[in-house]
């Protein structure tokens, strides 16, 4: 068993007249299997881009980032779908955006799908201990 420390910070100097400086952190107990950080060239067929296995009730902490480039390294502005296996879209990332969330409590995995062409995604997942 290991410890994973995720921290989210939201900040703005001009969103309101009050400065926004918000931070939240946690200490998560995680175990195998895990993928520390990987890249995938994601296509338009989600079933070919499963990044986290079916959960069988287990919880996984999933991180995904749209790198903003395609398989050839050219900049792209197309969106990257976050999906549960079976093509169930639950979110979309634009270039440069990221997400970190727990997935599980059901029997589905996580897959990625490019809205067109290819998109290079960074991802990681960690299994809740």
């Amino acid at each position: 068993m290991a410890t994973l420390i995720p921290t989210l910070t939201l900040s703005s100097t001009d969103a309101t007249t009050d400065l926004l400086s918000f931070s939240v952190t946690d200490s998560l107990s995680v175990t195998a299997p895990h993928i520390g950080l990987a890249k995938a060239s994601v296509t338009t067929v989600g079933a070919n881009n499963i990044i986290q296995p079916a959960t069988d009730g287990q919880t996984y902490y999933v991180y995904v980032k749209h790198t903003g480039v395609d398989a050839s390294g050219s900049a792209v502005s197309t969106t990257l779908n976050l999906e549960l296996t079976g093509d169930v879209v639950f979110g979309k990332l634009a270039a440069g955006e990221f997400a970190f969330l727990p997935v599980g409590g059901h029997s589905l995995g996580v897959q990625l799908q490019a809205s067109s062409g290819t998109i290079v995604a960074e991802y990681a997942y960690f299994t809740k201990a």
Partner: protein, 141 residues
């Protein structure tokens, strides 16, 4: 135009011996397909009870397929308590005690409310923030 920056850091010193994990990412929150910052923000805190069943944290009162962001934190310190997070009929995952999430919410259609539900017994305090590209005000009654 005002902007907000989201930054995540994910670290571990003991997940893999000799190979510390250090993941960092940062992005500016923009309205859909633009470089205009997201300025509609709703932040708050609430309490869920298991008895209440699933509640909608937010309805999809905005333009479909837009860029919106959701932060939710389960403030319970009881490790037996977790929040079920979903969008309409889609269950995404369980948010354990003191855990948080940061995810896009694109309001794919009008039936795309964010659902939260407390498990197991008792009540769970939570805090949240929602950044929206658009928002439709409720009709006058």
């Amino acid at each position: 135009m005002a902007t907000t920056t989201a930054t995540v850091s994910i670290t571990s010193s003991d997940l893999v011996p000799g190979m510390p994990v250090s993941i960092n990412a940062s992005s500016t929150l923009y309205q859909t397909g633009t470089t205009t910052g997201l300025e509609l923000v709703e932040m708050g805190r609430g309490t869920l009870t298991q008895a209440s069943g699933a509640d909608a944290l937010a309805d999809a009162l905005g333009t479909a397929d837009t860029t919106n962001w959701v932060y939710i934190c389960n403030k319970s310190t009881n490790v037996e308590q977790y929040m079920i997070i979903g969008i309409h009929e889609t269950k995404i995952g369980h948010l354990g005690s003191e855990e948080w999430l940061w995810m896009p919410w694109n309001m794919g259609d009008s039936d795309a409310e964010i659902n939260i539900e407390a498990e197991a017994s008792g009540s769970i305090d939570y805090e949240y923030a929602i950044y929206r590209s658009t928002n439709t005000l409720p009709a006058k009654t």
